[in-house]
Amino acid sequence: MYQYDELDQRLVDERVEQFRDQVARRLAGEITEDEFKPLRLMNGLYLQLHAYMLRIGIPYGMLSSVQLRKLAQITRKYDRGYGHFTTRQCLQLNWPKLSETPDILAELAEVQMHAIQTSGNSFRNVTADQYAGAATDEIEDSRIWAEIIRQWSTLHPEFSFLPRKFKIAVTGSPHDRAAVRFHDIGIVIHKAPDGEVGFEILVGGGLGRTPMIGQTIRAFLPKKHLLSYLEALLRIYNLMGRRDNKYKARIKILVFELGIEELQTLVEDEWNRNKDGPLALPQAEIDRITRQFSAPPWQTPASAPNQPVGAVHAFENPAFEDWERVNVAEHKQPGYAIVNLSLKALDRVPGDLTAAEMDAVADLADRFSFGEIRASHEQNLVFAHVRQDDLLPLWRSLGVLGLSTPNLNMISDIICCPGLDYCALASARSIPVAQRISMRFQDIKRQHNIGELRLKISGCVNACGHHHAGHIGILGVDRQGEEFYQITLGGNAGENASIGKIIGPAFASADVVDAVEAIVATYLAIREVGETFLEAYRRVGAAPFKQRLYPEPNHAVA
């Protein structure tokens, strides 16, 4: 993985000291909260319901075991011994003291981590495919490009005060695991017919109040122009994005108002003036970064015998077989597999991991996956390079930790934002709803029978829980002080992205799990052989679900 050079390290160290000074001025009362807020937000520090919250960036979700141990130590020393993995592949601490945040950042800098721009109206943590470098369908490793973008977008002098936050995601595989179509900019690596590798650039996707799917602004961009093109696009957005209304300030609204063709003309004009300037990427830099993402020393197929996933030890243990079928994915290297660690067991808070678990996961990563761990936007963890003949011992170890629930992409693998239990912006709680749904569907056989069903919960319209992109989406709303939940159906985050549609009036908290149950029952009743929930929904539409959820009132009496 990427190792800081002296320049990267110096920048992060200097930024820590700069923030230390800003915090000192705040604690001394030299600056007001209004003045301090934008400064702390530029360093990922929020003030939530109970305390400050520090969002630590995990660029494209990549962690080393050393970094994960450091995170464990930080949560013990400065927090309450746990952290929360987010849908931007970040880790949130829920209880840091303001006075100690500079020390936390200094400790992070020791392991080449930071919280720069994990909040504020600028570039956010760049995300990528959690299977990068291991996926069978990958054209090129998305982390290389995410790292190049991370550097360019860090403390950008021109774009630190954009109209609104800006999220970029990269996928190197046609099968999109990074939800790139729901990003301000989504980047898809393509191979042209002549063999040249470059990028398709999508713009204007996003969730929030006004969900939109990104549109292609450039079908193919040669590699060396990536940064000059992004700079041109950001420049147009910085000048033309709306600043009169925070809810209309994201680039998706500019795309909508201008139209993609008009925006394209403006960007191309800007880009043509600058594309061969100092931002044109030298091959030497592309090579330097690429080298750092070279494959780990996989063993030869002879020493790591290739067995099709599903065939290893299956006869021994049906529980292992379930896990292997559901949580393990194919690897491009014969003899290896990709393992997903579910952070969604029955009694867990989705995405939370305790300090002890972090240490244990770091140890397992050292033993089984070359000391590296990835965080996925679905709030799970991934060991990207596991020998197939290590799967059984790994599964046993994960079982001890409670991280082997075979529920990847199943109904209990819920994406869930912190909601009203933590978040100052929330309308309703989301974690308890996720827990109640997991409880209701705890029978894993039943989950497997239901099959792939992505359920996503947000505690308010800001949609951090990606509910618009859920096959079933749940949105918390506040009805005169009562928690209600609005349900959307048919959303999807991948290459066939779609936005969920509201199925009808919201449900009271006490009824929402029954409503999910009714939706699932409807699906099971109508599905054709082999049809997933999403496929069935797309075939039949909302009507049968509506009928089941909102039976016609009996008019006969009236």
Binding site: L47, L49, A51, L98, S99, D421
Partner: protein
């Protein structure tokens, strides 16, 4: 009559605090912080604003509470969660076992 208490987050650690008449900012709302009468309202508001000015607390505001025999309970769910802690972590509860009282 609507009962009000001033609340805020402490600057140094972000912790939720409530203003009490003689004891300043405490982590648990006290009967002495419940505003009774216009005089007290002005006094507490002034104290709260001065504390914000002095960078002791962030954005103080009054919340509605009930007084159940000396036990001061915020009325809205949001404020109850602020007062007691996250509903999913009863072990962090500041006041009483959540299981007994619920949110």
């Amino acid at each position: 009559m609507t009962l009000l208490v001033y609340t805020a987050n402490r600057v140094s650690d972000g912790v939720v605090v409530f203003l009490a008449e003689d004891d300043g900012w405490l982590e648990i709302p006290r009967p002495s912080g419940v505003i009774r009468g216009a005089d007290m309202e002005m006094r507490m508001k002034a104290v709260a604003e001065a504390a914000e000015e002095a960078a002791i607390v962030v954005s103080p505001y009054p919340i509605e509470v009930t007084d159940e025999g000396g036990e001061i309970r915020p009325v809205s769910l949001r404020e109850r969660i602020r007062a007691y802690g996250p509903s999913i972590h009863p072990e962090f509860a500041k006041q009483w076992p959540i299981a007994d009282k619920g949110y």
